[in-house]
Amino acid sequence: MEPEELTELALAAAVAAGAGYADVRWVREETEGLTVVDGRVDDLEAEESSGLGVRVLVDGRWGFAASAVLDPARARDLAGRAVEVARASAAAGGEPVRLAPAEPAVASWATPVGRDPFAVPLAERVDLLLAASDAQRSVAGVAHAKATVDLWRRRTVLWSTEGARIDQTVTQTGAGIEATAVGDGDLQHRSWPNSFRGQFQAGGWEVVEAADLVGNAPRVAAEAVQLLAAPVLPERVTTVILDGQQLSLQVHESVGHPLELDRILGMEAAYAGTSFVGPDDLGRLRYGSPAMSVTADATTPGGLGTFAFDDEGVPAQRSPLVADGVVAGFLTSRETTTDGAASGGAMRADGWGAMPLIRMTNVHLEPGQGSLDELVADTADGVLLSVNRSWSIDDRRVNFQFGVEAAWEIRGGRLGRLYRNATYDGRTTELWGSLDAVCGPGEWVVWGVPNCGKGQPYQNARVGHGAAPARFRDVHVGGVGR
């Protein structure tokens, strides 16, 4: 049965069962993950998942039901279940949900793709990763050489009782290498272009080619070996330059999440947590220095948070979150927005089986000026921290601690000694308040975070962060490693 037929059937059944509003998403997701370790294919996971998710409002209460079993009887059953769930939700009382108006869209859209990654022969993918693994192993002292390629495609057919008829296909691709050195009771990784399976962007095989895994492999492997012999970063308070990879996660954890309006309103309190930001902080709270401007932009080419419509059918938007250091906006949905404002289009679901939640789209730190070389040259004393290794932040997004793969001393405007087991920690507004320089558009890259978790049941989201290296003053580094 065609997705549109199932969707229409479920929508009609939901209305017949008493839904005041309903939307139905038919979703098909395809993934292929290939892992080569030490010249051998370690893992190949190819998965196809299709299902139907029915979301209803009955007397202002949400209900949701979803199944991977796709047939007309199940589609009708899901609609009935969703209504049953919504009716039960009235038991605890409380204010009913009201949705901000949204113009129902009738449209289709797909991620621009250079070369369809799923059409790249498996043998070609394997050969590339074997070459990338071998190029790492050519460096003496490398214990393990990993190379990965990940493909992801999601087609969503979204229909609503308001008249939305959307057919959208998003394609994303990732690739990376990770060299491991082991010795003297220690283990060090060095990755490229990013840790945790590399760089992920919207697009096709061109994302893999841009990563130049083979060309970067010897350097990355050599750095892993050097890290094993490097000293631990000493504890001190100093100037820090974060590279774009690490900065993207700093933005993610300490800016993106705290500005999700559902967190601010307490809707995630028990699990992911809330936010130190309050609803009344809009336009008032100084989040960082005037060098800090952050934008949510679901239209950025290449971003993992790029789409034409969110999972409520709201068009993709670009809007400021922090302007010149002051809170200027939140990530919002039709349910959470107030004062007659329209949704910011940030409702995203982890496939057919999950209710949409407010999620980051692409949350960018806007670029400043100059190159990384110029920024280092302008720094008398400090450290350059490169590529994330560990992250943690409290449940209101205040106290954070990050670990990175590598740290280089900066002295007299030059990079010096390499350090291992580097960490830095602090509090969100203090760190962003100490931001005094962001590199320019030439250094700005949209980094992918394909593993953002939130919600109960747990939902994964794929989000993007544009970032260029940036400098922060008076940051506490080290002190927890050995």
Binding site: S67, A269, D425
Partner: protein, 449 residues
Amino acid sequence: MTAFGSERLLEVAEAALGTGGADDVEALVYRQAGGLTRFASSRIHQSAWREDLWVRVRVVVDGNRVGTATVHAADPAAVRATAGRAAEVARTMPPDPGYPGMPGPAAAYPEAGHHDEATAGADPATRAGLVAGVLRRLPAGVAAAGACETRELEIALANTRGVRAAGATTGAAFSILVDAGSGTGWAEGTEPALADLDVAALGERAARKAMDSREPRELAPGTYPVVLEPNAASVMVQWLGWLGFGAKAYDEGRSFLVGRLGQRVCSPLVTIVDDATAADTIGVGFDFEGVPKRRVTLIDEGVAASLVYDFRAATGHGVEPTGHGLPAPSAEGALPMHLSLLPGRTPQAELVAGLERGLLVTRFHYTNLVNLMDTTITGMTRDGTFWVENGQVVGAVRNLRFTQSILEALSAVRAVGAETEMAAEDGYGAARAPALAIDRFAFSSATTF
């Protein structure tokens, strides 16, 4: 929607086994169905029911070329098509010289998993009623958030070597965070059956903690004696399980156990086992390769005792697999997924009574690995962090970040609680732990609330 049942699940799996030209075929069927009712600001704000079923097919051709493919569907045509796709992948893959074959049938599978019909069939009104009942009994002036979940899990595995294994289990969880203004409190329960959860007691515990957490004072970071309540202790146990008990991780040198097997790694008060067959966990009697689950003692009175093996690692080591395989081939290798830190003899209340000066920790938040080889993790306390003097809680403190080696913490265990609690994330696997009294626990920084 009721359970598929063993017979029907195995029929789904067997649809894959006739793949032409294959030397070995295996089909793993995983079905999970359940509902989750979420509440925040003392109203139900999200509530859902979901049923998922996936079939993962592994096909081997030319003796040692291995391909896999997964589909979320139950109809035989889709399963056969997926098997065909796995075979196509296998034909493209380079040979795997270390391919160990597939396990054969077991003489018997251990009894495991408690499938409770009432939990499997719990409707949204049941969950919403439990939530509403707890909310009604909360003190005035507080707000609550949390979730009530019921789920059913069915797993079946069939292969061309004759394995036919199927099992089912259920799980129920209730968690509640109470916000009393300047302090929050939290409690969670997880059991195989909904009827075994005392949701009223959980609500009362969270409310009491919230009231006691008001007006927290600042405490300087440092190393303090602590009592970790069971949920916080179970987080450490789960991390330890991920960090190196799998034989593959050990062989590749990415395990903290390298060079330490047979040696004392923590206090003799600490014994950690992995046991999917325990009556009080959520599991089935075989692993994701169809190998019977065994109880394995990982740390025996403080001594690093054993690894866990999937079929490949066991074959390589010349030992019997322990039933801890993930869907093969796996980059991770074997993992212990039903961990239990065995209880001691000291009632939990006495652990606090025995604390001269130190901290009582309810729960950790957002833990992450800092250093694998010395088992250092970091994370925050939340929802009930208290200062204890002379065995009495004297007030709440602002939350702290810990950065602490798990093995060093377990080496400094002074006493182990007698009561255990289970923690389980959505999906397969769980960890059970008692409260722990630890003489030295390192807090590296503090937050503002």
